[in-house]
Symmetry: C2
Subunit: 206 residues, 2 copies
DNA sequence: GTCTATACCTAGATAGAC
DNA sequence: GTCTATCTAGGTATAGAC
């Protein structure tokens, strides 16, 4: 009679795998993809380098999994915000604010997702990630055009600009990093985003 | 009596060095930083790998020089366009158009300068490069505000957004690559940039 | 299943002949 | 000064003991 894994064994394995992914994510967040060697990740997870290969066929496979998990969370959050009630312009503003706020608060991860040097396989995931971000923004802009609150425009370009703008501000943080400065930065980013989409100037952003 | 290099010897050496830089630039443009090994660059220049070290102390030093030359040219071109006669809004539009056009026409180089995975030393140069681009845009936006044709805004953020937006469109080219599409893309990028800076809608971009 | 030890490969850099 | 040949370091992946 063939041996079968018990549920307990399966969940132990999965837990180990999840732990490895979580530790790898931390390492990448702290030192970037290029410095996240198999040895460094294994050390962080408290296992031997060789043991990594019990869970992933290659370092690349692990890196891709790490990227997909983190990117998926960010896309889900942004998607959720953009689907909340409100006018397209309000939702667009909140979406940009949430995107940027999360990036500022966890800049290591944001940098890893958006810009940090990485191997080609991760680069391909990154392209897909940015496309999904742009698609989310483009949908809201499109809604705004359809409902007449935004002028006609190439929604792909506006969405790409919003993604690129937040990324640019993030990668090379402007000015100081104190709390007040971050809040002002966010407000000004949102104002810029609304202008970019063609929303009429609002009294609170004179 | 000590030996001195003759002028002819000096210029021959400099010529060899320049040739090496030019070939390295080509290689980087074609295959990116990470694939531009010393061997590949030396082959391209028609010399042995070891001979590279007659001209540069390390691969990193060569890479930095390649980056600085190319980035310096781009900054000079953009600076020149932004200083030509015209209103701040006109100049801003032309600047974005020139930036994007050059990037589209030589996308390999633009990608290498703006986004391609690279070693840390090149990454540092890239940060500086992007800062210089942003400073140029920020100056024109500032002029526009001072002369009353643009609304008050954080010029650093607007400038960062313009840089990021063009980079984003560039790194993942939208749509087809035929001539007409490129021209439409450029027109729409410029329209987006002017909205982003808060320029009033013009009749030619309804 | 996990560890230790190691094989293997790539790529930067160096030494010595010519 | 340039080439050929080689050294070395760092990192992925594997083999075999436990």
């Amino acid at each position: 009679m063939a041996y079968r894994k018990t549920p307990a064994e399966i969940s132990r394995l999965e837990a180990a795998r999840e732990h490895l992914i979580a530790c790898a994510t931390s390492v990448v967040t702290e030192v970037g993809w290029s410095q996240a060697s198999v040895t460094a990740v294994a050390d962080s997870a408290g296992i031997a380098a060789g043991s990594v290969y019990q869970h992933f066929a290659s370092k690349t496979a692990l890196a891709v999994e790490v990227f997909r998990r983190a990117a998926g969370r960010e896309v889900d959050v942004l998607g959720g915000v953009l689907r909340e009630p409100g006018s397209p312009v309000e939702r667009l503003g909140r979406g940009v604010e949430v995107f940027a706020r999360r990036a500022l608060e966890n800049s290591g991860l944001a940098y890893a997702l958006l810009a940090a040097p990485a191997e080609p396989a991760v680069g391909a995931e990154r392209l897909d990630f940015r496309r999904r971000y742009r698609a989310l923004f483009a949908d809201v802009v499109h809604e705004g055009i359809a409902s007449g609150v935004l002028p006609a425009q190439n929604t792909e370009i506006t969405a790409a600009a919003l993604t690129g703008a937040v990324g640019e501000v993030l990668v090379d943080p402007l000015g100081s990093r104190d709390e007040g400065a971050n809040e002002r930065l966010l407000a000004e980013l949102v104002a810029m985003a609304l202008r970019c989409a063609g929303a009429p100037p609002s009294p609170q952003h004179p």
